[in-house]
Symmetry: D2
């Protein structure tokens, strides 16, 4: 059983992502959450591209939120940390933290909720092989949070 509790990936802030306040425009954090989520899944053995193509599983966002604590700035290297917060047959929740890599300052936290849909747009069950991956992880987190 896998015991990855979270996965980190770094991104460097692009000029395109800044706005005229001189900091990152807030919507871009949702894009970084996507990067974090996809790399967490890859680390767990679930390549999202394959899920779409081979298993007709699209992980559709039904809710997203973000709290902004300190602004991310141009050219900074950020560490995006993603966790599986909850995993059920039809629903997955991820949570995220965004750190400035140079000093580990926490810049933002957030979460996204997803349902599984086929290419026809209809909700479906997460295939067994993915449930084993995410469920194991979530169970692990659950036990940890009780401790």
């Amino acid at each position: 059983m896998r015991t990855i509790e979270h996965h980190d990936v770094t991104v460097r802030v692009r000029y395109a992502e800044t706005d005229q306040m001189g900091v990152v425009y807030h919507a871009n954090y949702l894009v970084w959450f996507e990067v974090g989520r996809v790399e967490l899944m890859r680390a767990l053995g679930a390549e999202y591209k394959q899920m779409e193509v081979e298993d007709d599983c699209r992980i559709v966002v039904t809710e997203a939120h973000c709290r902004y604590l300190y602004p991310a700035k141009y050219d900074e290297v950020l560490r995006i940390r993603a966790h599986v917060a909850e995993s059920k047959n039809r629903l997955i929740r991820f949570s995220y933290e965004v750190f400035r890599d140079s000093d580990a300052q926490l810049l933002a936290t957030g979460g996204t909720t997803h349902i599984i849909c086929g290419s026809n747009g209809r909700p479906k069950l997460l295939p067994e092989k993915y449930r084993a991956i995410f469920g194991a992880l979530e169970a692990h987190d659950h036990k940890r949070s009780k401790a």
Copy 2:
């Protein structure tokens, strides 16, 4: 005293805003919320560009969330409805609804929380003239919600 309860603005979905699921990428809703918020403020007599330039007031996002009910699709005209949900001396909350304009189908709801900062990045009080504008509006909403 103004009694605008909300303000609507329409946008047409751009190809750039879609993703390979054939629907709008979820982070773009936060951009539309920005469009809705700015047009609500303009309708209330508070032009955001002026706030930055003349009053050294930046409305900084500290929290954003969105619930996605139905996907927005390419070339659809959307109606972005923005409200002042709460207005205090140092904090403003807006709430939003995104409708498909053709049939008034509600596609998404959300909210953002903001503090006021100067160009030095320090929090400051919302100037009196804006408090009058937003506060009147918020009070109005409050009474309405009690009714």
Copy 3:
């Protein structure tokens, strides 16, 4: 025969489109070109959404260029003017001008070249009905440029 020589559409600059130089990030002009092109096509009777769905015609970008003369700024209303520069059986060229609407200052010019592909990704001929629309327009422009 249609004789529309160009079509104008206005957009208002979003905060999301600015960068920390305090002006619009240059890649966004290509998005506005898309807006201009699609509205020109709509004005000519060729709705791009329909072309994809009903005629299996995707207008794929093979080249894009832009010259930036004056910066576009936050909250400005811009006028995007699009022309059909050339129309052949397998290729369409559009050209664009971006004006600041308040004083008609020209901010940028550019162009895009497109081929027609089916959903299988293979190049194909532009269907006759669209050739009539674009070709008529292009011929018209051609005669005008000789005058």
Copy 4:
């Protein structure tokens, strides 16, 4: 004298960068060019963030173009190669190639032209220290192309 002829950096295609054709939306290549340009400059010893802050030098885009040969797709790792194509006292040109990293397939080529401006928006001379860096590089390329 430095003799770096080009610099490579890799990016992984984000879902946010795709569109409903199932490929990357074309404007995003300009963002990748920015990433390539900034990393080339960093490799040469010219950190762009420092140029803005310490030397009041903004490298403003005056022209950009891109030719699209093969589509980039979701989750692909791309290799962005940037060159200094020309360097003068007031102007720098960069050129770019975008390769699919897995098989070195060339996907796109392009270029950007830049002038140097102060934070007041006025053109200025590129400071001597940067001219040495870029000029050396450009001269090198020039000799090479004659060989």
